[in-house]
Every structure is written in C-alpha cells, then in structure tokens.
C-alpha cells in the first residue's frame, strides 16, 4: 500500500467542549483515503464527539483539524458536502416514505433518478419498502434507509456512530457488505461500534479512544 498524498482526516490535539465538559481532550488522529477505521473504547470516551467534530457539528475549541486537507474551522463549507454522518439519529423525515427521503437527500446534490434508484437498490430498500412511511419501519430498515441517503448524496467520508445497533444478524451482514463495497468504491469510513469482533473483521485499522483522547 502506497501512502496517499493527502490524509482524509488529520486531527492534532483537538479539544471540543459540550456544555462546559471537554468531550475531546486533545485527540490526535490521522485517517488515510480508503481506510475503514474502527473506533473502540468505553462509553463516554469521546467516540461520538470525535465523529461529530469531523462532521462539523461540534466546534473545534483548541488544537487543529483538517478534513480533505481543508481547515475544520475556516473551510467548513467546502468540507461539508463531502462528509456524511450517521449518528444516533437517522436524520430521516418520519412522515415521508423511504423513497421520498432518499430522493430528497439525493436531490440536494443534484443526483439523477438512476443514481437514487441505484442507491436504494444497494441498500435493499427499493422494492416493496420504497413506498412505506419511515414511521412504520423497523430500526434496521431505518438504518438502511439512512445509509441509502448517504450513498445518494455521494458522501466521500462516512462517519458512522454505532451503525450495528438495532440491526438483526442479516442486517449486520448486509451493512458490512455495504461498507466494504463503499470503501472499495473509494469512500473513507470511520466507524464506532460495540460489536467489536464483527467490526474488527471489517476494519482495516483499529483505534482506541479513551478519556477524550486517541490511544497511541
């Protein structure tokens, strides 16, 4: 493996604060293009915050951070369209159907109908599920719909927070396949998971997070 010219994520001594509490206390992390990085660590270690910082949802209080070589604080606007976050929330509109949700997110980047159909196909939400309201979906189906939205809006860096949570065994297998496919197609993935063995098999690298810092 040759080292890529430009790391996708570069955090150096990053501090982020939420409600006066330093959720990140000097995290340093580099993620190269095409990697699938697994974040593991105890609850409250700062995994979610690390993902939210990279997604631009948490301001960088101290330290430095770059995503795609762009500064996290001053060049946020250029970073955002290329990043997708799937957190504890799915970011779906519960009153719309699966297809309407995916279409909406795809349309924000001007995706064609064919691309949107392909995204739904890949996540297995195209046929019968497509016209079901999101409110009536199971947790796993919602997760798949949310991933379809990420695919539809062509995110290059996927930040996934506990994506396995709430999925059944088949759903988890499908998810892993999807992530491998996405990585093969050029996406960079940072994923946090409690499903350690499963995620370890998936990941190209594991990183421990503890006390708001990245373990060496």
């Amino acid at each position: 493996m040759s080292a890529p010219a430009q790391p996708v994520v570069e955090l150096s001594d990053a501090v982020a604060v939420l409600g006066g509490f330093p959720v990140l206390a000097g995290a340093t992390l580099t993620v190269d293009s095409g990697e699938i990085v697994l974040l593991h660590g105890p609850n409250g270690a700062g995994k979610t915050s690390l993902l939210r910082l990279c997604a631009g949802l948490l301001p960088l209080e101290r330290g430095e951070g770059r995503v795609f070589g762009l500064d996290l604080t001053s060049q946020q606007v250029a970073i955002r369209p290329r990043v997708g976050l799937l957190g504890h929330h799915n970011g779906l509109y519960r009153d719309l159907t699966v297809a309407q949700n995916v279409r909406f997110w795809g349309a924000t980047v001007g995706a064609t109908d064919a691309e949107i159909d392909a995204a739904m196909e890949r996540l297995g939400v195209r046929g019968r599920l497509a016209d079901v309201g999101v409110a009536r979906l199971s947790a796993g189906q919602k997760r798949r719909t949310a991933l379809a939205c990420l695919v539809a809006r062509r995110a290059e860096l996927w930040l996934l927070d506990e994506p396995h949570a709430g999925l059944d065994a088949a759903g988890r297998d499908e998810l892993d396949d999807t992530l491998r496919e996405a990585a093969a197609a050029g996406a960079t993935i940072v994923v946090s998971s409690h499903e350690h063995e499963r995620a370890a098999a998936l990941a190209t690298r594991q990183v421990g997070v503890v006390g708001g810092q990245v373990a060496a």
């Binding site: 997604a55 631009g56 949802l57 948490l58 301001p59 604080t73 946020q76 606007v77 970073i79 955002r80 369209p81 990043v83 997708g84 976050l85 957190g87 504890h88 929330h89 799915n90 970011g91 779906l92 509109y93 519960r94 009153d95 719309l96 309407q100 909406f104 997110w105 349309a107 924000t108 980047v109 001007g110 309201g133 939205c149 809006r153």
Partner: protein, 238 residues
C-alpha cells in the same frame, strides 16, 4: 444545484410532509377555529356606536381577531415546521450535508407561507360566518394583496426565530417572546388593511393601501435579513 432549486426542494418536502401528516388541517385549523369562537365569548354579542349607527362589536373587530388568531396559529406552525427537522436529527443532517442555509430559509419560509395562507382564508371565512363580516367585491384585490404580503412577512419571521430556537429546551416559551413583538407591525398593518378592504366601521378603501407599503417593507426586510441571519444562527460550529 443552485440555491433556487434547493429552496424549491425544501419547500416541496415540507408541503409533502404536511400532506401526509395533516397537522395543519387536523390540528392547527381546528385550534384557530376554536380561538375565533372563544373570542366571541370574551367580547360578547354587544354593539358599538359608530358614525353609521350601531354595529355589532364582533363585526367591528373581526379583522383584528382574524390576524390575532393567525399569529397564535403561526407559533404552532413554526414549532411544527422545526419539530419535523429536529425529531430525528434531520436539521443536523442538513447542516452536515452543507445544504445552503439561505435555500433552507427560503424553502421553509415558502412552505410556511403556503400553510399560513390556507389558514388565513379559513379564518376569514370564519369571520364572515361567525362575526357577520362581509367582503365587498371592490375590496377583494386589497384583501388578497394584504393576505399575500402579510403572510410572507409572518412566514419569514417565523422561520428565522423558529430556526434560532430549534433544539433548545424552553423553545415553546422563547419563540412567542421573540416573535410577537417583532410581528406587531404586521398585526397592525394587516388589520387596518383588511378593515379597509371589508369597509369595517365605514373605513374607506383608499385608506388600506398605505398599509400595504408597510407590510411590503416588513416582508422584504425580514426576507433579506432572515436569509442572511439564518445560516449563522442554525450553524453552531463555525
């Protein structure tokens, strides 16, 4: 994707959600209707003396009550418009995706304006039915123009402050505190304009048009100001 088409996309999305969830038709409009009825209880069926002799009090104050009910309903609609974004983290997702905030503002304002316009018409209908207000043919143009311009202004203010308070605890109480003083000019202007359009209490039609100027300036000021302010307000990270 340019700003205009994203705004249209957001507006279409909000209206589609309303069509599927029917919060406006099943909850907000009934609320507005009940408000109109209880106004009548509060004011009683008394008459007031005007230059034209005795006029039922309710007919005299009907335009004001219509807009007052519209303001209260506006608060509900704004809460709803941002609840759908905040419920499952969609607002966060929009921010992560870097969707142009100006487009979000215009899109959500437009969707809110459409819903408000429907509500206004229902309220006017209620005023005609319940309060005995009547709409002369000559005032129809003024009435429609007032309705459109006032609604645009209200929708812009509502979207702006709805976005500001979305996601904070205590937003239900903060929103009225911020919105009501700001929309006072709309309440005043739209009420007087509708009074002229309906000829309430013998107000001449020509007296209504200066108010349209006020309402237009208001709508433009908050349309532009809101578009500028909305992005930085909903985006906490930069």
């Amino acid at each position: 994707m340019n700003r205009w088409s994203i705004a249209r996309l957001v507006a279409a999305k909000d209206l589609r959600i309303e069509r599927r969830s029917k919060v406006l038709t099943n909850q907000v409009i009934p609320f507005a209707g009940v408000t109109m009825v209880i106004f009548a209880f509060a004011l009683d069926a008394k008459s007031a003396r005007t230059d034209d002799g005795f006029v039922p009090l309710l007919e005299l104050v009907a335009p004001g009550l219509v807009w007052l009910a519209a303001l209260f309903s506006l608060l509900l609609l704004v809460q709803r418009a941002f609840a759908i974004e905040a419920d499952d983290g969609a607002l966060d997702a929009l921010r992560v995706a870097g969707v142009d905030p100006v487009a979000i503002f215009w899109g959500k304002s437009a969707a809110l304006a459409v819903q408000l316009a429907v509500l206004d018409m229902v309220l006017l209908g209620a005023a005609v039915l319940l309060y005995g207000a009547d709409v002369p043919a000559g005032g129809l143009v003024l009435l429609v123009v007032t309705l459109v311009v006032a609604t645009c202004g209200l929708a812009c203010v509502g979207t702006l402050y709805g976005g500001l308070t979305a996601g904070f605890s205590g937003r239900e109480t903060l929103l009225p505190l911020l919105v009501l003083p700001v929309v006072a000019p709309v309440l005043i202007g739209a009420t007087r304009a509708v009074e002229s359009a309906l000829g309430t209490g013998g107000v001449a039609l020509s007296e209504g048009w200066p108010w349209i100027g006020l309402l237009t300036v208001f709508a433009i000021a908050f349309g532009v100001g809101g578009a500028l302010a909305f992005g930085p307000l909903i985006d906490e990270a930069t």
